[in-house]
């Protein structure tokens, strides 16, 4: 008889090849249909999983912002503003196809730049980005039927600041409806993750999009601020933290611009005693740790009915222990790297404060690579509503467990934050799930599911989670003068 294998389920690494990403040494701003050197400082993009420099990027100075906005204004007044909706639709369709064709390259590039697992980048981020363009391609020549009256007019030049957690997907969610409506776009990706946005510029070129219709400006938060404040920008779209979002709105006050802000969240899963345990456990874990928890609608809080809390948390630990933390380029990896070492530090402090305030910590026994910005998924039990970890946006792989006794108490606790983005409800009793969904003060409720996204379904928040909706006909409204 042979000895049993001590680790029968050990996976062999399934590494994706970095060469697929076709990395270049240098990336440049995309302005007026051309890649040109920016006048801003040169900065580098770093792989947060290894600390290695990926490429150098020439940043954008005030003069580049000016050039890009002028190019977008020219395109709006010229070709893009005057072609038919059907022609716009075809350009969006071309972009969707190009995204699909280059999906693997962009997925791997996204992984290198963000540290997210490559399986997620190629199976979630990229297909969704393409789906968004396909959906809005269909709207471009049907705006008369979108519910805003006949011939709704585009606003003009849209300035967009996009964050680092889903660089290409969030760009697609905002650029696709803008183009469908006939607006032109200047987009500034995050300084930490600009690469896929710059390749997107190349895709616009390959699609034959009229020059200046889409411009991409890599740069820091200052470039972003000067873009949104530029007098040629009629509509400023900011996606990021509530703190910065409030500052952006203050800066733009009284300038006669439309401002759309898609800000933070403090998502929650409410699990009633009668919930289907397997699905609930799986989705609570997925909801908290998908994309390393760096999702504004992450279910970073769990509200579980007191009578089943102990058993549920035990199952939760078992499930979490199966998460594979490590090399994002390994297709087996579930949890990759965070965006930066500063993020790891911020989250460690948040967890420590939670423990100091009385919570109990349990961390997945994983040994992530030593050189990258990793943090193993962490569970905090015994969390009270007053603790900062339950009131702030976590934006990382930390899950807090709270309990409740009645449905009303669950709703009150779930809503006990200034945010109002998303929540999950788990109950096999339909009327209770729907009642809870109705009572929650959030823009999205997933009943007996979590983290579902689709270009046909509006997504966005209330209160301090911002005022925008992406998806569906509702996602057109921000870009129309209606």
């Amino acid at each position: 008889m042979t000895e049993p294998d001590p680790n029968p389920l050990e996976y062999a690494p399934a590494l994706e090849s970095a060469t697929v990403a076709a990395l270049r040494e240098r990336y440049r701003p995309f302005i007026g249909g051309e890649f040109t050197d920016g006048s801003g400082a040169v900065f580098s993009s770093v792989n947060p999983a290894t600390g290695e420099t990926l490429a150098e990027i020439t940043g954008s100075a005030e003069s580049d912002v000016d050039r890009a906005v002028n190019a977008a204004e020219d395109a709006f007044r010229g070709h893009w503003g005057s072609i038919s909706g059907t022609d716009r639709a075809k350009y969006l369709f071309r972009i969707a196809r190009l995204l699909q064709e280059r999906s693997r390259e962009l997925g791997v590039l996204e992984t290198l730049d963000t540290g997210k697992p490559v399986r997620q980048a190629t199976e979630f981020d990229l297909p969704n980005a393409a789906a968004w363009f396909l959906h809005y391609a269909g709207w471009a020549d049907k705006l008369d039927h979108a519910g805003f009256g006949p011939s709704p007019a585009p606003l003009g030049v849209t300035g967009q600041v996009v964050p680092s957690n889903f660089p290409l997907l969030l760009l697609a969610q905002r650029v696709a409806p803008a183009l469908a409506c006939g607006s032109t776009v200047v987009v500034k990706p995050s300084e930490r993750t600009p690469l896929t946005a710059l390749v997107f510029g190349e895709i616009c070129e390959q699609a034959g999009l009229p020059s200046g219709t889409v411009n991409v400006l890599p740069g820091d938060s200052e470039s972003g601020a000067s873009l949104l404040a530029h007098r040629g920008v009629r509509h400023a779209v900011f996606t990021g933290s509530t703190e910065v979002g409030e500052r952006v709105r203050r800066d733009l006050a009284g300038r006669g611009k439309r401002v759309t802000s898609e800000l933070g969240g403090d998502g929650v899963n409410i699990v009633f005693a009668d919930a289907a345990p397997e699905e609930a456990v799986r989705s609570v874990v997925e909801g908290a740790f998908f994309n390393q928890g760096r999702v504004r609608c992450a279910g970073s809080r769990l509200l579980v009915e007191e009578s089943v809390a102990e058993e549920f948390v035990a199952r939760l630990r078992d499930r979490m222990a199966e998460l594979r933390v490590g090399d994002p380029m390994d297709r087996n990896t579930d949890v990759g790297a965070l965006g930066s070492s500063a993020e790891v530090e911020r989250l460690s402090e948040l967890v420590e404060r939670g423990v100091a305030e009385g919570a109990t910590r349990w961390t997945v026994p994983a040994t992530p690579p030593r050189h990258g910005d990793f943090m193993a998924p962490t569970l905090l039990t015994g969390v009270q509503q007053s603790m900062s970890v339950a009131r702030r946006e976590v934006f990382g792989p930390v899950l807090s467990v709270l309990t409740f006794r009645t449905a009303r108490e669950a709703v009150t606790k779930a809503d006990n934050t200034p945010y109002g983005l998303a929540a999950g409800v788990w109950s096999e009793k339909g009327s209770r799930a729907l009642w809870t969904a109705r009572e929650l003060r959030t823009g999205v409720v997933w009943a007996n599911t979590f983290h579902r996204f689709d270009p046909t379904a509006p997504f966005g928040g209330r209160g301090e989670s911002g005022n925008g909706r992406v998806g569906g006909a509702a996602g057109l409204e921000a870009y129309l003068d209606v």
């Binding site: 509006p458 569906g472 509702a474």
Partner: protein
């Protein structure tokens, strides 16, 4: 006829004056500050002393609105529609009184004032019919690529602070207040004291139309003095600056940024309130909620 007899026959009747108060939480009350402002008709004649609301009155009104919100937003759309239709009925029944007040306040001819009042009554009637159609206007079934049933429905944004128009007393006020109430929101409206007379009469119509106390709160006073309190109040979810002076707009937007308050996109120069409003306000005063549920055997 003696001189005395002549004087008697031409003397006007001595009228009983009305006290113009604030409308907060369903009750008419003086400002806690005790302040009043003399209101003149358009021809300069003294009309009344209107209450001049204070910042404390604003806070009380916001508290009253918040308290009323659960009940009003939780009422069925049909029920809210019935209440708002009732307001239109009450306005219809007192058209002559409103016409006289609007004529005196705005300096309009009797015909112009009657037109404005008729449009105001019709506007309230038009909005009343929207309560149970918002889901059609905004929202519906989302055809996602997967085994889920997904629907999006509009919900009220919450407590809405409103600066009432200055160019149109009754019609302007109805045009900004009605869309707030349709969606199940509660309102705190600031009205310039110069326009107090028709505004207080409208409140009397609201008070006798089954509009629950606190759903609509109307404060007469100096909006420029009070509106920053509405903009900064964390329990006010949205701000409609329709009647706010251009010089105030930047500051309001800046203050409202602090709690990520919605600020309605209203023109700096007031529109012609008699033109058909469209659905913009109804959209701006609702938040879409999207609910997913899986489908399976």
């Amino acid at each position: 006829m003696s001189d005395d007899e002549a004087r008697l026959s031409t003397r006007k009747r001595v009228t009983v004056p009305k006290t113009y108060k604030l409308y907060v939480g369903g009750s008419f009350a003086r400002s806690e500050s005790g302040r009043v402002v003399a209101v003149a008709d358009a021809d300069g004649a003294f009309r009344a002393n209107a209450a001049k609301a204070s910042r404390k009155d604003v806070r009380d009104a916001v508290a009253a609105a918040r308290k009323a919100f659960d009940g009003w937003s939780g009422a069925s759309a049909h029920n809210r529609g019935q209440v708002l239709f009732r307001v239109a009925e009450m306005l219809e029944g007192t058209r002559d009184r409103f016409t006289a007040e609007v004529a005196a306040t705005e300096g309009l001819s009797a015909t112009e004032a009657a037109n404005a009042v008729d449009t105001a009554v019709d506007r309230m009637f038009w909005y009343a019919g929207w309560t149970d159609k918002l889901g059609v206007l905004r929202g519906g079934v989302d055809q996602v690529a997967g085994p889920y049933t997904v629907h999006s429905t509009p919900e009220p944004v919450g407590v809405v602070g409103v600066v009432a128009p200055r160019q149109s007393s009754l019609l302007g006020l109805v045009s900004v207040l009605a869309p707030v109430l349709v969606a199940g929101n509660c309102a705190v409206v600031l009205v310039d004291t110069e326009l107090a007379v028709p505004a207080v009469s409208l409140c009397e119509a609201l008070a006798t139309s089954d509009v629950p106390g606190g759903v609509a709160n109307v404060l007469t006073g100096d909006p420029a003095e009070l509106v920053s309190r509405l903009a900064s109040h964390s329990d006010v979810d949205a701000l409609d600056p329709s009647g706010a002076d251009e010089s105030l707009r930047g500051e309001l937007e800046e203050t409202a940024a602090g709690s990520v308050k919605r600020v309605l996109d209203t023109p700096l120069v007031e529109p012609d309130w008699s033109t058909a409003p469209g659905t913009k306000r109804l959209r701006a005063l609702t938040e879409l909620k999207t609910v997913w549920h899986p489908i399976g055997e």
